[in-house]
Amino acid sequence: MRDMKAFFLHLAVLAALLAALPLLSAYHVTNVAKIMVLAVYAMGYNIAFGYTGLLSLGHALFFAAGLYAAGMGISQFGLGSAGALVAGPVAGGLIAAAVGLLALRTAGVAFMIVTLMFAQAGYLTVLYFVRYTRGDEGIVLDRAARMLGGVDLSGDTPRYLLAFALFAVALLVNLALVRSPFGRVMIAMRENEARSRMLGYNPYTVKLTALVVSGVYAGAAGAAYAVLFGYVGASLASVQYSILPLLYVLLGGAGTVLGPLLGALLMFYLIDYASSATSAYQFIVGAVLVVLVLFAPKGILGTLRERGLRWLP
């Protein structure tokens, strides 16, 4: 019964997102499409951080791997949009595996620092190979290359629908994952690694698998960002893009499947409205986060789960 309730809630969220399409103005259609892509990224982050307890500060590297695999694949290797959307998650997963093999030898603060350093190295690599990446200035993807099955992905509706499709798949896979036996093991690792080991689970393997899945999500989001929004630049590989999914997850609720979407949605519009009102919008964002940490440290959905909605996955 609890499972069905959770399943229908997630279906209802997907239905609401789809139903919103004809109701939203052009501006919000584009915004929500971007929010769904960023939510996929944050969902990936949540698999590592919220469910497995891996506090990474280097996820921008995985996002950028997908972004540049798709962007450079299109602009320099003649890859189509479909190929780019496949190349992104593959690149994200591979880079996450490579980083994980080394970084998972550490834990806690050391893991944060190591992942941060890897991501910074990735960012500087993008800047260093400016001849190919155009560095901070970035690459504009030709509109003609952003076609999928004859559909122009730069149009508001196709873009929204593709972002929705990606988000829907990511959400349902995420839901299935956290309810699967492996998902339980991920949570066990987060809660008590020593006891999990004693029960016969290899923490290194479990964490590496979770990190690779997380990297696949981040890479898929990066590729979707490139194809849907037509721009690939170094700022999207900067440390800011390692922090953003963390904030989305903290705001929405770490270890909740819908938390990343809620966090991305609220943070996006908080910045959007606050920046129109004042140039000190970052102060407002900071203040909101401080309030959140003080009064709802488990995020919005995490707090709701704690206060009654115990069935919330």
Partner: protein, 428 residues
């Protein structure tokens, strides 16, 4: 008393709708027409109010606001008043694209202009093409004329870097020296300087003997200066961002009072910085590129005086209300001049509303020059409609007595190079 209601028949409804449609089609709706013809033209301004470009953004807003007042005092565009909606993009390309969408589709602006930083322009341009909304940038970057962007993105108010450095290289090699060391930020803007100036110097028989790229995250520069070869005749520097003052001060500390090469810098290294700041004394006798002379020159035109007064800048380039608030004078004229170019192009296109956006672009593409005057106080410009790029005069100034005194002004022809794109062949 009768409660009888008269229900409309199908015929009467259809007749009424037809009559209403005909009324709309024939324009017999005076109030609506009145609202359309006298409604303000709304221009979006993508402003670097926060982020790395904030120093520029503050002055771009001030300059555009001053230009707007002048424009409206003159009767606006086509007799319609003009509004500018400013929106902060955080000097961030992703946010830039979002802000563009917000201005175009939420605020219903007729077009968007004002961005300076290259990465913001490049990140935003695809959105302009998607929405089919003109995007007029003030960025200096070569990205417009290189063909990288699209038909909806134009740069009519400021010369691009390639043209700037090409036009000045002959004077530098003939007057300062032929062995050049370049110090530049290690990202695309710096690389444009590196590539174009190196080629331009070689074309003059000179040589760039060392290129020193400074990572964008750097906050101290002392460890880079020993890399400058001893036989350097000209040190070429161009830095931007919050660390520029540190850079220039540390350069001064490095050379002290001893021998130093000739120094030629882009004023970008000192935009919004008082050249009389303690520690900058060593800049006396050095040279700078200026798009527009910060210090009012002895031969300043009436238009120059008019512009300074309107924006609120004194003869030294500082705010008239606060002498410590130094402007970004070398660049901000583009926020002024682009507005008047918008006026000219809209009037040439007979612009009425968003349906005429394509006509606006075509009208601007058909323009070839902008005459010096109150609308273009920096000087006359030529405009290449095929490459969407303007070409203006560049100034080389020498620091004398703490002031920047112009010693050379390039011709428009000095900055021309073969077209790299013809946007007019691209579809809308």
């Amino acid at each position: 008393m009768s409660n009888k209601m008269t229900m409309p028949t199908r015929r009467s409804v259809l007749s009424g709708m037809a009559a209403g449609g005909a009324l709309l089609a024939t324009g017999l709706t005076p109030r609506f027409v009145q609202a359309q013809s006298s409604a303000p033209i709304k221009l979006g301004f993508q402003l670097h109010r926060t982020g790395i470009g904030a120093a520029y953004g503050r002055w771009y807003e001030r300059t555009a606001t001053a230009a707007l007042k002048v424009l409206n005092d003159q009767g606006g565009i086509g007799g319609r008043p003009v509004e500018i909606v400013f929106e902060d993009d955080g000097t961030d390309p992703a946010r830039g694209a979002e802000v563009f969408g917000k201005l175009a589709t939420q605020a219903n602006c007729d077009l968007v202009y004002g961005a300076l930083f290259s990465h913001v322009v490049v990140g935003t341009a695809p959105r302009a093409a998607e929405l089919k909304v003109p995007y007029l940038v003030c960025s200096e970057g070569h990205h417009v004329a290189s063909g990288m962007l699209n038909r909806w993105t134009l740069q009519p108010g400021i010369t691009d870097v390639k043209s700037q450095v090409q036009s000045m290289a002959p004077w530098v090699t003939q007057n300062l020296g032929k062995k050049v060391t370049m110090v530049f930020p290690d990202y695309a803007f710096g690389h444009d300087h590196r590539d174009f100036f190196t080629a331009a110097v070689q074309a003059q028989g000179g040589e760039v003997i060392r290129q020193i790229a400074i990572p964008p995250t750097e906050t101290s520069f002392t460890r880079y200066f020993p890399q400058i070869p001893a036989d350097t005749e000209v040190l070429y520097h161009v830095m931007v961002g919050p660390a520029v003052l540190t850079f220039v001060k540390e350069l001064g500390e490095f050379y002290g009072t001893g021998d130093r090469p000739q120094i030629f810098g882009f004023i970008d290294s000192l935009e919004a910085v008082n050249i009389a700041s303690p520690g900058l004394e060593f800049l006396e006798g050095t040279h700078f590129w200026e798009g527009h002379n910060r210090n009012k020159q002895a031969d300043a035109s009436e238009a120059e005086t008019f512009y300074r007064t309107a924006v609120g800048v004194d003869d030294t380039g500082a705010s008239v209300s606060d002498a410590n608030e130094v402007s970004t004078y070398a660049h901000m004229f583009s926020a002024w001049e682009t507005l008047f170019t918008i006026k000219d192009a809209m009037e040439a296109a007979g612009y009425q509303g968003p349906a005429d956006r394509q006509k606006f672009v075509e009208a601007l593409e058909a323009m070839t020059s902008f005459a010096e005057g109150n609308d273009h106080p920096q000087g006359d410009l030529s405009f290449n409609g095929k490459t969407h790029q303007a070409f203006g005069h560049q100034n080389i100034s020498k620091v004398e007595g703490g002031k920047l005194i112009r010693v050379h002004r390039t011709s428009l022809e000095d900055g021309y190079y073969p077209d790299e794109v013809d946007y007019t062949t691209q579809s809308f």
